[in-house]
Amino acid sequence: MKLLYFAWVREKLGRGEETLDLPAEVRTARQLAAYLAARSPEYARVFGLPNSLNLAIDQEHACWDQELDAAREVAFFPPVTGG
């Protein structure tokens, strides 16, 4: 699965995207965040408090309890500030 990171999420993780093979038990966005938080202290700092993050599944805004199903890409980012 392709993961994308934007704004300070990208800066804190030191990368804008990566591709991971996820274990079968990671079925929701919340489970994905928990899985990522366990990878390293950097990931724990970003994904330990997912309430300050938003996410998109296949380029649509999504909720933490949404199923990943056959998603091709998941993006994590702070609340948007365009306009």
Binding site: L4, A7, A56, Q59, E60, A75, V80, T81, G82, G83
Partner: protein, 151 residues
């Protein structure tokens, strides 16, 4: 509708002309231009976005606006990259037979660009840079457009 996300500056008048030229059914054209303010010594904004999702998300909101108001034209341009004080950031043009739809649709589209389109602003003050926090007031403003029962 035409949606652009670009580093280049834009010419609002030329865009309005392209949207309306040769038409005699348009009675109202509302143009919103957002610009970089030099508050507190800001030296530049840097705007980042999510290519692909940005265009799709804006198109969804233009569709919603067109379903809600009888629009005869919509043009949206959002700039990305480094923008100095006074620079144009965003353009929304709406054209309609009557002014109410044109005003409300432009206002609606700006609220949704602020709260849903995947752009992120970083403020630069000399060598210091900080990501802009989302404003709760923008969410409240966007909520005005929800119909009863929507969350």
């Amino acid at each position: 509708m035409q949606i652009s996300v670009q580093e280049a500056d834009f010419d609002s008048a030329a865009e309005a002309l392209a949207l309306t030229s040769g038409r005699n059914d348009i009675g109202a054209v509302v143009t919103f231009e957002g610009r970089v303010r030099a508050d507190d010594g800001l030296t530049a904004l840097r705007l980042e976005h999510y290519p692909g999702m940005t265009e799709a998300e804006i198109a969804r909101h233009v569709d919603a606006a067109q379903a809600r108001w009888p629009l005869l034209g919509v043009r949206i341009i959002h700039r990305i990259g480094r923008l100095g004080p006074g620079a144009r950031i965003v353009l929304v043009i709406t054209a309609a037979a009557h002014r109410r739809g044109a005003f409300e649709a432009a206002d609606f589209l700006m609220d949704y660009l602020k709260t849903r389109a995947p752009f992120w602003k970083q403020e630069q003050y000399g060598d210091d840079a900080r990501w802009v926090d989302a404003k709760l007031s923008d969410l409240d403003t966007a909520r005005r457009w929800q119909k009863p029962g929507q969350s």
